[in-house]
């Protein structure tokens, strides 16, 4: 599959990138490691006139310890996130999540910024080679959703691994654009809309992520996927605890990927676990709206989320 022709820019510094963003008039896409962007161009899902590669910008690939936390540049490769000693020490859930992504080759190419921005997935959008056989779905600029035919929006699923882990650590996203810099909590970067799941402006670039330390916190990430390697999770669960269950001070945070069009904190479940009053977790999960996707029923997906949560809770 040849790529459609495009103009390619590869800035060497953030200031060069900002100059480029202020100037570029074409329809452009930003490319981190290229593992998704180039694939989408090959599949005709993106047809940019210009591609801006971020791989040459050294400022984006730093891991830096700060007083109250760790800064990870958006351009750091997933394999480097998985192997970084500081990440493994303070944020094990993130290291474990990064280690689960795709395959060794793709982890050597893909960046954490790219994984956080990863497009949503759906059988009718980016998992079909026979897409010519039916009218395009909403996300392919068509008029209907095949997953929820009565729905008004796109229900494609967000399936990246690392954002679930990042949500545990109060992660702050540092953004830059020709108009200036800003910080947003990672949670506010996403919205539950499969078509357009990022609240980023077109000319905004993620510089990196700030994760915060917490004394005594233990964390982990587990996922369930049809294949162990080169696959996306059906459900991925990241969990962090401080203290001991049932013994005074205890707090738990749970975040999930693969359930909806965004990664999300499972606050209902967090409360039920913390109260520990014997109420049915299953019942609590029922309150989370999940749709049938790829032949997987909502109840099965919720069940997996609970099983993974229990495994983590018992293991930490």
């Amino acid at each position: 599959m040849p790529l459609r022709p495009f103009v390619y820019h590869r800035p060497k510094s953030l200031s060069e990138l900002l100059g480029l963003l202020a100037m570029v008039e074409d329809d452009f896409v930003l490319m981190g490691g290229g593992t998704e962007v180039l694939l989408q161009i090959k599949e005709g899902l993106k047809k940019p006139q210009t591609v801006i590669g971020l791989g040459g910008i050294g400022e984006l690939s730093l891991i830096k310890e700060e007083e109250d936390g760790l800064f990870i540049g958006a351009g750091v490769k997933l394999s480097d996130v998985a192997n970084a000693p500081t990440v493994n020490k303070h944020f094990p859930a993130l290291a474990q999540a990064a280690r689960k992504v795709a395959s060794p080759q793709l982890r050597n190419m893909g960046t954490i910024g790219g994984n956080v921005c990863l497009d949503t997935r759906c059988h009718y959008f980016n998992q079909v080679l026979w897409a010519g056989g039916f009218d395009p779905c909403l996300k392919r600029k068509g008029e209907r959703c095949y997953v929820v035919p009565a729905g008004k929006r796109c229900y494609a699923l967000f399936c990246a691994d690392t954002p679930a882990a990042l949500l545990l650590f109060d992660t702050e996203v540092r953004l830059i654009s020709p108009r200036g810099e800003r910080k947003v909590p990672l949670n506010d970067l996403y919205r539950d809309d499969g078509m357009d799941h990022l609240s980023l402006k077109k000319d905004e670039v993620i510089v990196g992520f700030k994760l915060f330390y917490e004394r005594g916190r233990r964390s982990g990430y587990v996922r369930f996927s049809p294949r162990k390697a080169i696959d996306f999770p059906l459900v991925g669960i990241a969990l962090a605890v401080t203290g001991e269950r049932g013994k005074g001070e205890f707090s738990v945070r749970i975040a999930a990927t693969g359930l909806t069009s965004r990664p999300l904190r499972l606050s209902i479940l967090e409360e039920l676990i913390k109260e520990d009053c014997g109420r049915d977790w299953e019942e609590g999960m029922e309150r989370l709206a999940v749709v049938r996707h790829g032949g997987i029923s909502p109840s099965y997906r919720r069940h997996i989320a609970l099983v993974l949560t229990e495994r983590l809770l018992n293991g930490l």
């Binding site: 790529l3 390619y8 694939l39 060794p104 080759q105």
Partner: protein
């Protein structure tokens, strides 16, 4: 829209090659069609199978999802770079000895993934070897013999280092 081609310099298997490439040409295309390194294979062309694996600065990557322009200034190794002076590398010999090859289409990628792994791993477990080869799909012989080959070589390397 102007997509200008330009001359780029690629360092492949320790030789520099000057070649003309358009911005949208992949490293795989340039390696195979312009520089005649046919060891890297085009199979799924979408990052799923690992047949196009090459090493970039010693790390396995997929040449089908890398732009040729981005290969500039990097040290690229293809399977052709493993044999030295017409002699197969120890890893290639181990693959032969174990019979880890059938149709051979996945073999270059698997060799490169395994080589990069052996270059850094000390005393690897079978689980670690499996993980290192997880990005290379084989559709005929399976993985048992390839894993055995890597294991054998890792063990030999260890014995050599221990002076046995």
């Amino acid at each position: 829209m102007v997509c200008e081609r330009r001359r780029i310099v690629l360092n492949v298997n320790n030789f520099s090659y000057e070649v003309e490439a358009a911005p949208h040409e992949t490293l795989l295309y340039v390696l195979r069609e312009k520089l005649n390194f046919r060891g890297a294979k085009e199979a799924c062309d979408g990052g799923e199978c690992g047949a196009c694996t090459v090493l970039m600065d010693g790390r396995p990557v997929l040449a089908c999802l890398i732009l040729a322009w981005d290969g500039e200034g990097r040290k690229i190794t293809t399977v052709e770079g493993l044999a030295q002076e017409g002699k197969l590398s120890p890893l290639q010999e181990a693959f032969l000895a174990e019979g880890a090859v059938q149709c051979g289409f996945c073999t270059p990628g698997m060799l490169l993934s395994a080589q990069a792994f052996l270059d850094t791993a000390e005393n690897p477990t079978e689980e670690e070897i499996r993980e290192a080869l997880a990005g290379n799909l084989c559709r005929c012989t399976g993985y048992v013999k390839a894993i055995a080959a890597v294991k054998k070589l890792a063990k030999e390397g260890r014995e050599k280092n221990n002076g046995l």
